[in-house]
Symmetry: C2
Subunit: 169 residues, 2 copies
Amino acid sequence: MEVKEALLQRRSVRRFTDEPVAREAIEALLHAAMSGPSACNKKPWHFCVVTNPEKLGELKSASHFTKINAPLAVVVCGDLHRALPLQLSEFWVQDCSAATENILLRAVDLGLGAVWCGIYPQKRPQATVRKALGLSESFVPLNIIYIGHPDEQPEARDQYDAARVRYVE
Amino acid sequence: MEVKEALLQRRSVRRFTDEPVAREAIEALLHAAMSGPSACNKKPWHFCVVTNPEKLGELKSASHFTKINAPLAVVVCGDLHRALPLQLSEFWVQDCSAATENILLRAVDLGLGAVWCGIYPQKRPQATVRKALGLSESFVPLNIIYIGHPDEQPEARDQYDAARVRYVE
């Protein structure tokens, strides 16, 4: 799929068929994620790929997506051991957000649907995800991306708003 | 260009030709940015499109990119008046990072080069950008994206690392 088309087709999908996501597709999503930029190329990310039904249930309880029927969740985590020091340490949030957007766009490209469910910096959802996945202290769950074969097809959308732009010429 | 190709071709470009970026291309980049996801679809973003040479010079002094010769800078800002409240307010960083990644990918698609120069949460660079652009308090400069026609062609790159992935099956 063309880049422009994928950008406009990327919409949040919250209803999925029962079909699992093939391992090959999961790996394509992870390649997309890790092709993203990161501050000083630190790549301060870690990805938990969850298909275990019990663990998926625990993740859903971390968010307001309790009834979502996605067969797959990718939990994008910051890896604080790889993050930059001091005032730059929070750059992992930006790096992992770019990686997340790459996953969403590649999902569209593969005919999959997905939705980004924010976790960090909310304290209680972070604790729930951390416990469900047994994450060590150095991994911070940024979000849960629910992914599957879409059972709804939101229309492509252009949200351009000229009021959000200022030209300094 | 195909999504997969754009993902791997997206590399930081820091040397540019003298050719300006056409207005049509700038608008395509902004459409890409605003097609990104945002928490509760708040779209808490604002874009300053800088081609004024004096202002470009002031922006360059905000970063370690003092000698970069890009003819265009897009400063991606969070708009705190549109951000979510309380514990959710920092989601603007994630939303604007996704918008930034969209700009970078669309730039590749258009044959342009770009580099993401992080500003937030560093205090002094923020102040310099704020002053250069006369930003009000509610706009927080997240980054400066320098964009132009590339005068270098970094090779496509796949940074996949299986050690960054854990399967919970």
